[in-house]
Symmetry: C2
Subunit: 600 residues, 2 copies
């Protein structure tokens, strides 16, 4: 420590929306961030984990040419660090590749940190790609000692931040992160980071990514906690942001004099674990522009999830080079909320609805779809499917003779609609958004190549009961109430045969969703779920449906993860799978209702 | 060591075909193996890695009830080991879960080995699930010292087999394995295991799994090498087998006296790494039944791959509870070889062909499909698609007015065919096999929800040039030559518009496949591939097609991995991906031919 009086580290955190593989575009955003930070008088500017290659790059990391291009882009970036220190996520190559943070200052690389804790669970596969780092130095930046960590590193109570603070004397821990969103994760993250700060008696600055990448949404929500664990600055959720804060390392020193726990703890570590790299010892004395931050409050549940769906949809569509989406509007709640999200993501001119009524569509469904389209101000095409349905019936006449109509004919209709939407996609270059929700997709109450046909499944991870919550939320923030009340009120139906209702084959959605959450997200057993108050035979029939329909989900389009466990990279089940447990013996007297799958 | 004269360890290796999750079925196979081994007078019987839960169980391993059921099944199994020692793959639970080998003897558990090296690359995700083991004991079984290892353990030159042999005095190393097949892997495996045996001066007995599980095929090919690295016994490829061999540990001792390298090496290890667990010190004296083994020769390339496709198809169909498959027969080579494989896998009565001609189908295509069906002896349905195609044209009349017919109308036809096949599947419970090959799927020359619609993609990992090799091979082993020569000779065409040829949009398949192998399997750069002798602009256009069509592959059905790098769990690319390299500057003068994607 020096004795030169009050020190300040002005930190800028650049919460940017990058794109995987877009080295030039990501580089430009990083340069803009460095320049803005310099304009705001910052000593240090940080960027998210792997911001240069984009996150997660997946098997792009197996291409030597991708590693080389990322290193070349980094060399370009380093030149832009005149008069400032920047921490930039990239892929380092030494004897192996590492998930890394470059520390650049005045046009020079002054250090590279290699991530020490590699997540390999849930949606993460980092051990597939990276070697783990073994060193956690600290850097003296304008007289303030700073430890650099990457994402997962900070989720361990004895991760590198602890020796950095205890032994290296770090007054500030920077954590650059690309932490995927699920509903409610923000609270957990705040709680954890606050504890790390007060445990280490250290300022913790957490710089997260924002934006959508395939199934994942990154929610921003960058955070700074002081040495007491108090939140002192925060980035917006689901938007790019630029957070500037003046950090006070002398308060850290004062706090440490008052709290002697660290002296006990220090003895546990080998002093060789951290080394000190001095960039500059002099605190900046020049006058700097003032800044002020607005107060940010965490969004309530429905607003948060809705925003996640909007940004996830917008980024999937635009980052894949599309402008316009097309959606089949059935007059039901799922397609209504999907279209509303699409309008909020892309604008009304970039959303096309298609009404595809059949002989089984109710008059109300058709008019509800029309009213929705009018409320949203989107184009609505009408393409009745009867001619094609009649043609298929004729073509199958001989082959299906003497067989009763059943799910087969229901699926034919759904697949005619899929063909129509894909033909519009092919002819006009529109991306098809599918409308199925997580409840349907879980039990296979959907038609492969029918209503599952499309490029992106907005509601893939949204249970039906939450679909209703989102519809009510969206109507509540808009004086017009874009989603007609009749759509919210009517009983759900696929309308693929006369007087069909979802409850013909499924329990009510509040029951179904509770069982699905316990099974799909938490892997509870039949017995445990039954103990929550459900009929064990019903629970078993639902579980069997979930297991049996893995093959369908495997062929569905990607969608946005918003729960702790989404289908896809987050839940990797075999299709060929004979594991099924018998009902517990003491439940044999249950009424066995038949909830069989209807559509395939 | 004892000095009681010639010792023998009679080893039985049970090369079984298990099913993921089928604890009862797998248990029954293991019990049958133990009983047969006892009948054959074996001292030791081994089974493949994770044979009890099935391999790979994927996220079933996140279910406590699955772990518990597997432990219960193991307890049942142990009781069946009267008078014999058995090594059985299962999931152990201690403070965490482990990929484990149970060592059971005389109705008791005498030891548990935890896999030390967990693969987490290619198709493997074992660090997602398991803790790694830290101990590698040896077991004395009827006077012979045996080290147990699991799969990946033996692929490291300094894995547990080395201390087991050097320090623990193991005379035999058992490796229980579930090692997925790709073409040519057998030779690599033999070479590696032979080297391990001669490096360790130890007998190596490798017991592999056999059978199909979703994308993977396990090829059996269990092996025993003596202490000189000579092959002494071998299991069949792609079939269940039961291998018995008398191992001679005294030859191991003699060899070690002559080769002193191990004395140098021993000093490198801490002696605590291996402990000795004595099961029985007395060599068996009782007379045992004789056995003899037939000589097995590794299958030639086409025969090996063909067998892999047959077993992969059979196991996917039957393990998922289907009996019959349905295949669209276009008169082309892909559907011809797919149908032939299906007949070889399931029998002619369980294969249904469907001819779905359009106005663009040539007369020859229709008759070729008929001739193929006759040669195979399968049913052939005929469902011309014109009525549905006319209906779609009518339905789109207003919306597509003044627009030229293009890929859209081609895709509509393909999707009508997909709808027909799926309707037959729904009505009759047949599984649809798709017929697309790896070359098409790589560049997106296929229609999502059209010819890609189905449950299993037999040729998903088979390049087009190999499709021809397989057709010629299959005709060569059958006096009739089931695949009509005209199917092999005609230029490939999708027949979705007049006089269409694949080469309208793609280079010749020998060029395409060479580029695809370099890019998809080996991740070579444009420049490196161009240096192999290809036009750089062509290489770039192919690479762009591969990258751009990731979204289609993501929605395709699973298929059988037969190359070192298959699409799917083996190659995990982002859909949203802007990484593309410019052409190297020195290649700007190349003629830029247009190879654009045709179908979506």
């Amino acid at each position: 420590m020096n004795g030169q009086g009050p020190r300040i580290l002005r930190l800028a955190m650049s919460q940017i929306n990058t794109t995987v593989g877009d080295l030039e575009g990501n580089k430009a955003k990083i340069i803009a961030g460095i320049e803005r930070a310099r304009d705001e008088g910052a000593d240090l500017v940080t960027f998210p984990e792997l911001c240069l290659p984009g996150y997660p790059p997946e098997d792009l990391l197996l291409k030597p040419q991708f590693i080389a291009a990322n290193l070349k882009a980094l060399r370009d970036l380093v030149k832009h660090t005149r008069g400032i220190t920047a921490v930039i996520g990239f892929v380092d190559r030494a004897d192996d590749i590492f998930n890394s943070a470059a520390v650049a200052h005045n046009g020079e690389m002054v250090g590279i940190y290699h991530k020490m804790y590699l997540p390999n669970y849930g949606v993460f596969d980092e051990i597939r790609y990276f070697q783990a780092g073994t060193e956690c130095p600290v850097y003296v930046i304008n007289g303030v000692t700073v430890g650099i960590t990457i994402c997962e590193d900070i989720w361990y109570p004895d991760g590198p931040a602890l020796p950095q603070a205890l032994l290296g004397g770090a007054e500030v821990i920077v954590n650059i992160s690309s932490s995927p969103y699920h509903a409610g994760k923000g609270y957990m993250r705040e709680r954890m980071l606050s504890t790390r700060a007060s445990d280490g008696l250290v300022i913790v600055a957490y710089n997260n990514l924002v934006g959508g990448q395939d199934e994942l949404v990154f929610d921003g929500h960058s955070l700074i906690f002081d040495e007491n664990g108090n939140l002192i600055a925060q980035g917006k959720q689901f938007e790019e942001d630029f957070i500037v804060a003046d950090l006070n390392p002398d308060a850290v020193f004062r706090r440490r004099l008052h709290d002697p726990r660290r002296r006990q703890e220090k003895a546990r570590y080998r002093p060789t674990e951290t080394k000190k790299i001095v960039i500059s010892t002099e605190p900046r004395k020049d006058p700097r522009p003032a800044f002020k931050r607005e107060e940010i409050v965490l969004l309530p549940r429905e607003a948060e999830i809705y925003k996640a769906l909007v940004i996830g949809t917008r980024d999937y569509v635009t980052k894949n080079g599309f402008k316009t989406v097309v959606i089949g509007l059935s007059g039901g709640i799922d397609s209504a909320i999907t279209a509303t999200i699409a309008v909020d993501a892309l604008g009304r001119d970039q959303v096309v609805g298609v009404s595809m009524p059949s002989e089984y569509s109710s008059r109300a469904s058709v008019t509800d779809a029309q009213e929705l389209a009018e409320n949203l101000g989107i184009r609505l095409l009408s393409i009745p499917i009867q001619p094609a349905f009649d043609a298929f019936r004729e073509m199958f006449g001989e082959h299906f003779r003497n067989l009763k109509e059943n799910e087969t004919e229901e699926n034919i209709q759904a697949r005619i609609r899929g063909n129509i939407l894909m033909a519009l996609s092919n002819k006009f270059g529109w991306l098809v958004l599918t409308t199925g929700n997580k409840s349907e997709i879980s039990v296979g109450y959907c038609t492969l190549y029918g209503d599952m046909a499309g490029g992106f499944a907005v509601l893939r991870d949204v249970p039906k009961t939450l679909v209703y919550d989102l519809a009510r939320y969206r109507n509540s923030i808009d004086s017009k109430g874009v989603i007609p009340q009749s759509i919210i009120d009517k009983p759900p139906s696929a309308e693929l045969r006369p007087n069909q209702k979802d409850t013909d084959k499924l329990p009510p959605y509040d029951v179904l969703d509770a069982i699905l959450e316990a099974y799909v997200e938490e892997d509870r057993s039949i017995e445990e779920i039954a103990e929550m108050g459900f009929d064990a035979a019903l629970v078993k029939s639902i579980i069997d449906m979930v297991d049996r329909n893995e093959y369908k989900r495997r062929q569905g389009p990607p969608g946005i993860k918003i729960t702790p466990r989404a289908f896809g990279r987050d839940r990797r089940m075999p299709i060929t799978n004979r594991f099924s447990l018998e009902l517990p013996i003491r439940t044999t007297s249950y009424v066995r209702r038949q909830y069989v799958r209807r559509r395939t």
